[in-house]
Amino acid sequence: MAKKGSALVIPLVSITLGFALGAVVLLATGRNPAAMFLALFQGFSGVNVSAGSFNPRYIGEFIIQSMPIILTGLSVGFAFRVGLFNIGAEGQFLAGSMGAIAAALWVKAPPGIHVVLVLLAAMAAGGLWGAIPGYLKARFNVHEVVMTIMMNYVALNLNNLLIVDVFGSADRIKTAMFPASALLRDPALSALTNGSRLNWGFVPVLLAVVAFWFVIDKTAFGYSLRAVGFNKDAAEYAGMKVNRNIVLSMIIAGAFAGLAGAVLTVGTFNYGRALPAMEGYGMDGIAVALVGGNAAIGIFLSGLLFGMLKAAQPLMQSQGIPKDIASIIQASIVLFVAMKHGIDFLIRKIGARKRAEEVSEALI
């Protein structure tokens, strides 16, 4: 059994190694890694060290990039705690987006209430999209990985079909603009960050992080979910409703991803979009959950990390650093986390050598 500290050590070592690898790639291709680190720093702090300037717009964009992947990370992480591998956050995200579009276009409600209805509709739609593989898993033992991957494609094509044929689109790419009452946007937030797309989406994101932590770690329901995740047989023996928990956890996971769809659709954008391909928010969620150790605070932090990498890409390009470096870093961090046993082994080896040296010094 790993010690408490290692839950933190492995991701930190992996992140360090990931950045180091990115730097090595830059060095090998004759570029200066310092420029990359400066771009990354500017990406989340807004401070341009070399020019000595500060632009809060970058902070706003950094938060914008982080919000949806924190939510899809929570989606993947929540299912994982119940022993399910939710590859379907992508599809649930799209389902949530569809729910948000429907509520934004079709529901008339006063400002403040309308946007809440939009978020709830998105969570319901995402939850429904998660419920289907959850039910099939519980009832017929259909593997959730296969099922959720297929559901992603169904969601993508359903989204495009609805945009054109149901919600209505003049250019076959986007719907009409949403009414202001449905939006998370706020000119004040935008002004605060020098015209960034920052919006009130961070409120539901923070609430979702707290809800994840509270449900999983603090409630009796969360206890039974974790029991099912660790050992289904023991959960069944103890009289827990294993199948019900599987379905509920997929609904909740879907609701998190659905919320991400809403945050993007009525926050970052203000219209529904037809998509040529999946945008990868769900897939990023897998990486976020993995690096975050499937815990609320971990997912929050790793979501910020990957958000920073995304936000810094244009900056890196302007510095002559290929933006793909950010993807290399992101991928290698995930890879290193997945190699946690190897890293654990290395840490222990180094630790053992240190101890041996101390012992031999003490003997001299």
């Binding site: 059994m1 010690k3 009796a220 660790f230 023996y237 009289g239």
Partner: protein
């Protein structure tokens, strides 16, 4: 780093094959081995006796290279060695049969044995040569293993022999057996003892980790006794009595005799009528079985493993669906009722497989002690867990049942020894004090002190008027604490007798299907 002689020097003219000198090993919160010295003579069976958590497995894991000691030295054949990992142990001729076998289930016996050391002809595996070598070893040591059978098709006892063959195939000279009889039937135990003698006869050395005194008395030459991480004594088995060894192990006098008043059976608590249950293969594992269990009695169900006990227990407790028949608990039909419904109605269950059903190994100990009651007061209020109440519950049960764990309720369950895991389950279930209590293999893998205690608690529950169905493969256990005994053979009850009016011999005949007797 140059190796340095630390501590006193040892010079021994006796040909010890293994010497472990002044071994110290710490785990968080526990000193598992405190200055233990173990010397094993070549060509002998050396037993390592101790309660759960006494440090036996730790010591052997150090010898096998799984742990590194904080201090102390190891000599093999007189030469000081550093055993950094199991490969180094193998290279020194040390092999280990683990309590939980490490076999590939859909491979054949031969494939499992040669895994990692396959004889080749060109690029292909030389199967003929491999099979021939396996057969040769099997015959030499009287193991009687079918080299072409698949692991999933052979019995647990056979699987253990495959593990033994694996070591022999790797030319192991020193064989460590970690609680080898915990999973075996009486017959298989007897055969294993023969095999051990044969191994020693061929010049091998056997290290036997166990807490079963009978077995030590039967085969071992020397016995080293550990208690709470410390060396108590190393004795010659011939000159030591079972009682004296038990006393050294537990640190007090052990009462082998189970004291109990005659049962005062009350009303029928659990009634099973014409029950049929299918097993995992889809065949009838329980056939037209009828049983009655009264309040205030212990009904022992004995039989050879795989004769329908598992299916019966699962049907009663709701883990398997029944084919037909009825199970009545206090007059209420259980068939079709949820597991939770049955538990709430007053059913208790100590499962036979503690890792699969009994515990969530990745939970902390305190979390495992509330798996039934987490949703109720005081452990949760309005759906929110009260971690203080969960911890307090754990502290209480740990103290009452003497569950040994390094970090109290916060101990990761996976890190606990098997015996203490079982104690935790027993503590949790007895604490629920159910009306009808299905107890399967309650003391498997436990030491005498713990067995004595658990038996007392089971009898205590009976005296409180609870109905107890005890399912066990240990005949001694059945005979010691049951009031009535039912024998299951091939899914049917072939006999039901009063415990006071039967003996091992009669039960043995019924267990093998050669005698039937109605109550």
């Amino acid at each position: 780093m140059p190796s340095r002689q630390v501590g006193p020097c040892y010079n021994n003219p006796v040909p010890y094959i293994i010497e472990m000198l002044d071994i110290v090993k710490n785990f968080p919160g526990v000193r598992a081995n405190d200055n233990i010295t173990l010397r094993v003579e070549q060509g002998s069976i050396h037993a390592l006796l101790g309660e759960n958590g006494a440090g036996k497995s730790t010591l052997m894991s150090i010898l096998f290279g799984l742990y590194q000691p904080e201090s102390g030295s190891i000599r093999v054949r007189g030469r000081e060695v550093k055993i950094t990992d199991p490969n180094a142990a193998n290279a020194l001729g040390i092999g280990m049969v683990h309590q939980h076998f490490k076999l590939v289930h859909n491979f054949t016996v031969t494939e499992n044995i040669i895994l990692g050391l396959e004889p080749r002809s060109g690029l292909a595996i030389d199967r003929k040569k491999a099979a021939a070598r396996v057969r040769e070893l099997s015959e030499l040591y009287g193991l009687n293993v079918d080299s072409e059978a698949k692991i999933e098709d052979i019995s647990v006892g056979m699987q253990q022999r495959v593990e033994i063959l694996k070591m022999l195939y790797r030319d192991a000279e020193i064989l460590i057996f970690d609680e080898p009889t915990a999973v075996l039937t009486p017959q298989e135990i007897h055969e294993l003892m023969q095999i051990m003698r044969r191994l020693v006869g061929e010049g091998k050395t056997v290290l036997l980790i166990t807490h079963k005194l009978k077995e030590i008395k039967e085969v071992a030459r020397t016995c080293t006794i550990l208690r709470r991480g410390r060396l108590v004594a190393t004795v010659s088995v011939e000159s030591a009595s079972e009682e004296s060894m038990a006393e050294m192990m537990v640190g007090r006098e052990v009462d082998f005799h189970v004291d109990k008043a005659p049962a005062m059976p009350g009303d029928v608590a659990l009634s099973i009528r014409h029950l049929n249950v299918r097993n995992a293969k889809g065949l009838l594992g329980v056939k037209d079985l009828s049983l009655e269990l009264r309040a205030g009695e212990i009904l022992g169900l004995c039989g050879i493993d795989g004769n329908g006990q598992t299916e019966l227990v699962r049907a009663i407790t709701g883990l398997a669906e029944i084919e037909s028949g009825s199970i009545l608990l206090k007059g209420r039909e259980l068939a079709g009722m949820s597991v939770k419904g049955r538990l709430d109605l007053g059913l208790g269950h100590i499962p036979e497989d503690r890792h699969k059903h009994g515990l969530v190994l990745d939970f902390r100990l305190d979390e495992n002690l509330v798996v039934h009651s987490y949703g109720r007061r005081p452990f949760s209020r309005r759906g929110v867990l009260d971690s203080g109440a969960v911890r307090a519950n754990a502290e209480r049960l740990i103290a009452e049942f003497d569950v040994r764990c390094g970090e109290g309720g916060a101990t990761p369950t996976r890190a606990m020894s098997g015996g203490n895991q079982q104690k935790a389950i027993v503590a949790r279930e007895i604490d629920r004090s159910p009306e009808a209590f299905v107890i399967a293999q309650p003391t498997r893998g436990l030491d005498v002190g713990a067995i004595e205690y658990i038996h007392k608690r089971i009898i205590g529950e009976r005296d409180k008027g609870k109905a107890i169905l005890l399912v066990s493969l240990e005949l001694d256990e059945i005979l010691d604490i049951s009031d009535r005994i039912a024998v299951i053979y091939n899914g049917e009850i072939v006999g039901a007798v009063q415990a006071s009016e039967t003996n091992e011999y009669e039960l043995g005949l019924m267990m093998s299907g050669s005698k039937r007797q109605a109550a």
